[in-house]
C-alpha cells in the first residue's frame, strides 16, 4: 500500500474500529496500532468526563466509557477543537432506549455549562447602572441576558439531580417535569438556576432583547398579581445575579 489517501483511510478504519488490528500491507517493522486505538478513545473519554462530570458520576465510570466509545462510533468528532467533541452527546443519548430517559436532559444542562464557560464577554449591568436611567425612559429600556448564557428546557428534574451530586446529598431518580434552567457566566464562574413559573415565561424574551414595557405586558397577560412589583423583583434578581445587560 503506497498511496497516501489509501494509507490514511485504512489507518483510520483500523484505529477507530478499536480492535488494534494489524494490516501487514500497511505497516512496517513497528506495528503498535493498538496504541493509537486506545489513545483515540481514552483521550476523548477524558475530555467528555470533564465536560459531563455529573453524567459520568451517575452512570459510573465504566458505563460512561462504554457510552463514549459508542458515541464516537455513531458521531465522530467533526470540529478542529476537542472542546466540541461532546457537543452532540445529548442528541445521541436521545437515540439510546437502553439508557435512562433523563440522561439527555442532564447532558444538555452540562453542555450548556461548557458553552457559557468561554462564551463572549460583556459587562453585566448593575443596580447602580439602572439607577442612573431617568424613570421616564424605563418603559423603552431594552434589556437582555448576558451573551454567555443559555436557556435549557428540561423534561426531567435533572437540575435537582445535578445539585444532589454536586452537594453530595441523597440522589433520587429524576421525575418528569416542565422546567427551564438558566445557565450563565458570572465573572469567571458558571452558574445555573431553575426559573420560577412566570420568570420562565419572561426570560425567553430577554434572550431576544425586550423592553420593560413588553415584559410588563407579558406579566399582565399571565395574570400575575401585582405585575409591576413582580417585574421590579425579577429585575433585581437578574441584576444581582449579573445576568442582565440594559441598553
Amino acid at each position: 500500500m503506497h498511496d497516501l489517501a489509501e494509507i490514511q483511510r485504512r489507518f483510520y478504519e483500523l484505529v477507530t474500529a478499536g480492535e488494534g488490528a494489524i494490516d501487514p500491507g500497511l505497516l512496517g517493522g513497528s506495528r503498535r496500532l493498538d496504541v493509537y486505538a486506545e489513545m483515540y478513545v481514552a483521550r476523548l473519554v477524558d475530555v467528555l468526563a470533564d465536560d459531563y462530570p455529573k453524567l459520568r458520576s451517575v452512570l459510573g465510570a465504566e458505563p460512561f466509557q462504554t457510552l463514549v466509545a459508542a458515541y464516537l462510533r455513531a458521531r465522530p468528532p467533526r470540529s478542529f477543537t476537542i472542546r466540541d467533541a461532546g457537543e452532540a452527546l445529548a442528541a445521541y443519548l436521545e437515540t439510546r432506549d437502553d439508557l435512562p430517559p433523563w440522561a439527555a436532559d442532564l447532558a444538555r444542562l452540562e453542555r450548556a455549562r461548557v458553552e457559557v464557560f468561554d462564551g463572549p464577554d460583556r459587562e453585566p449591568s448593575t443596580r447602580e447602572d439602572l439607577a442612573r436611567i431617568p424613570i421616564e425612559e424605563f418603559p423603552d429600556l431594552a434589556i437582555e441576558l448576558v451573551p454567555s448564557s443559555e436557556l435549557v428546557p428540561i423534561g426531567w428534574t435533572v437540575d435537582d439531580l445535578w445539585s444532589a451530586i454536586e452537594d453530595d446529598t441523597t440522589i433520587e431518580a429524576p421525575t418528569e417535569c416542565n422546567r427551564t434552567v438558566l445557565v450563565w457566566r458570572r465573572d469567571l464562574g458558571v452558574l445555573h438556576r431553575t426559573l420560577d413559573g412566570d420568570e420562565a415565561e419572561l426570560v425567553p424574551f430577554l434572550a431576544r432583547r425586550a423592553t420593560m414595557a413588553a415584559l410588563s405586558e407579558r406579566l399582565v397577560e399571565l395574570e400575575v398579581v401585582g405585575p409591576e412589583t413582580r417585574l421590579v423583583e425579577l429585575l433585581g434578581r437578574w441584576l444581582d445575579g449579573a445576568a442582565l445587560v440594559c441598553s
Binding site: 503506497h2 505497516l27 512496517g28 517493522g29 465522530p76 467533526r78 478542529f80 472542546r83 469567571l188
Partner: protein, 297 residues
C-alpha cells in the same frame, strides 16, 4: 534566524493564577492555540494578562498538515486572527495528520515518509505560511508504527519539508527519544539529519515506559536519558528556545520552574559557545563589509 527566547513552560490552567500573581522565573510561555480560539471567558482573559508580561508562542494541535482532507480554512482563519492578536514570536504545529473525511481524531497520527506525502505536506505548509504571512515550525511526532511505504527516514522527511517549504522545525527531544526507542532508530543519526539552521524551538517532556514501547505521556518529569539527549541537542543546534511540556499530573509551578533550571544548566555551555561563535561571525561579517567598502571606495 529564529528568536532566542530562552527557557519557557507550557501555560496550563492549574497555574494561571500563580503565574499572574508571582511572575515566576520563566522567559516565555507556550499556549495550545486551539484552547484560546474561543469567544471570551477566563482563558482569553489570562492569555492577554500573560501576554502583557511575557512573550507567548502559539503551538497548535489541529492543523492536520499531512491530511488528505482539504485544509480547514475556518480553522486557519481563526489561527490567523489569534496570531494577529497575540503577535507570537513562534507559531508551530505537528508533522502529522489528524483528520479524514471531515472527522477529527484529536490525535497526532504519523505519516508515511514517501515522496508523495512530502510533496503534499510541502504544498500545504506553503499555503498555511502564505495565509498567516509568516513561517511556521513543524514538530517531529512521537510514533508507535512505521509504514511499509516509507522511502525516507522521519528526520530526512522533516528536513526536506523544512527546506522545500522554507519552514522551521520544532525539535521535540523527548519525541526523538521515544520514537527512536520504539523503532530502533539512532537518535544521533536523527539529529545529524536535521539542518541546524531550521531548528527554531525545542520541546522537552516526560514519557512512560510500557515495557513493549515508550508512550509520550507528558505526565512525568523529563527522564535522565532525555536530558542527556538534550545536552547533545544543545551542542548541535545551539541557543534554541527551549520549553518543558506537562499536560497531565501537573505538579506545582515551582517544580516545573526548578526543572526548567536544569535545562538552563545543561544548555549553558553550548549557549556560550554558540554565542561566541555568533559574535565571531558578526565580527567577521563586519570586517568583510568594511574591507569591501574600502575596496569599493
Amino acid at each position: 534566524m529564529w528568536p532566542r527566547l530562552g527557557f519557557g513552560l507550557g501555560l496550563r490552567p492549574p497555574h494561571y493564577q500563580e503565574v499572574l500573581a508571582t511572575s515566576p522565573r520563566v522567559d516565555w510561555w507556550e499556549v495550545i492555540s486551539e484552547n484560546f480560539m474561543v469567544r471570551g471567558g477566563n482563558p482569553r482573559r489570562v492569555l492577554h494578562a500573560v501576554r502583557d508580561k511575557w512573550p507567548v508562542v502559539l503551538h497548535g494541535v489541529s492543523l492536520s498538515i499531512g491530511s488528505i482532507d482539504p485544509i480547514d480554512e475556518d480553522y486557519l482563519a481563526r489561527l490567523a486572527a489569534l496570531v494577529a492578536e497575540v503577535e507570537p514570536p513562534i507559531v508551530s504545529d505537528h508533522l502529522c495528520w489528524s483528520s479524514i473525511g471531515g472527522h477529527s481524531a484529536h490525535d497526532l497520527w504519523p505519516l508515511p515518509y514517501t515522496e508523495q506525502a512530502l510533496a503534499h505536506v510541502v504544498a500545504r505548509v506553503a499555503h498555511v505560511q502564505e495565509r498567516l504571512g509568516r513561517r511556521i515550525l513543524l514538530e517531529n511526532p512521537s510514533s508507535y508504527v512505521t509504514f511499509s511505504a516509507s522511502e525516507l527516514t522521519e528526520a530526512e522527511f522533516l528536513a526536506e519539508v523544512a527546506r522545500r517549504a522554507d519552514c522551521g522545525i520544532l525539535l521535540d527531544v523527548n519525541n526523538v527519544y521515544v520514537s527512536c526507542k520504539n523503532h530502533g532508530w539512532d537518535p544521533q543519526a536523527y539529529f545529524a539529519a536535521i539542518p541546524v539552521d531550521r531548528v527554531g524551538q525545542i520541546h522537552l517532556a516526560g514519557h512512560t515506559d510500557h515495557g513493549t514501547h515508550l508512550l509520550d505521556t507528558h505526565d512525568t518529569p523529563v527522564h535522565d536519558a532525555v536530558w542527556e539527549l538534550y545536552r547533545d541537542a544543545t551542542v548541535r543546534f545551539g541557543d534554541v528556545a527551549t520549553m518543558i511540556e506537562r499536560d497531565d499530573h501537573i505538579p506545582a509551578l515551582g517544580e516545573l520552574v526548578d526543572e526548567l533550571g536544569r535545562a538552563r544548566e545543561i544548555a549553558a555551555p553550548a549557549r556560550l559557545e554558540w554565542r561566541s561563535r555568533g559574535d565571531q561571525d558578526d565580527q567577521r561579517e563586519a570586517h568583510e563589509l568594511a574591507q569591501a567598502q574600502v575596496a569599493h571606495a
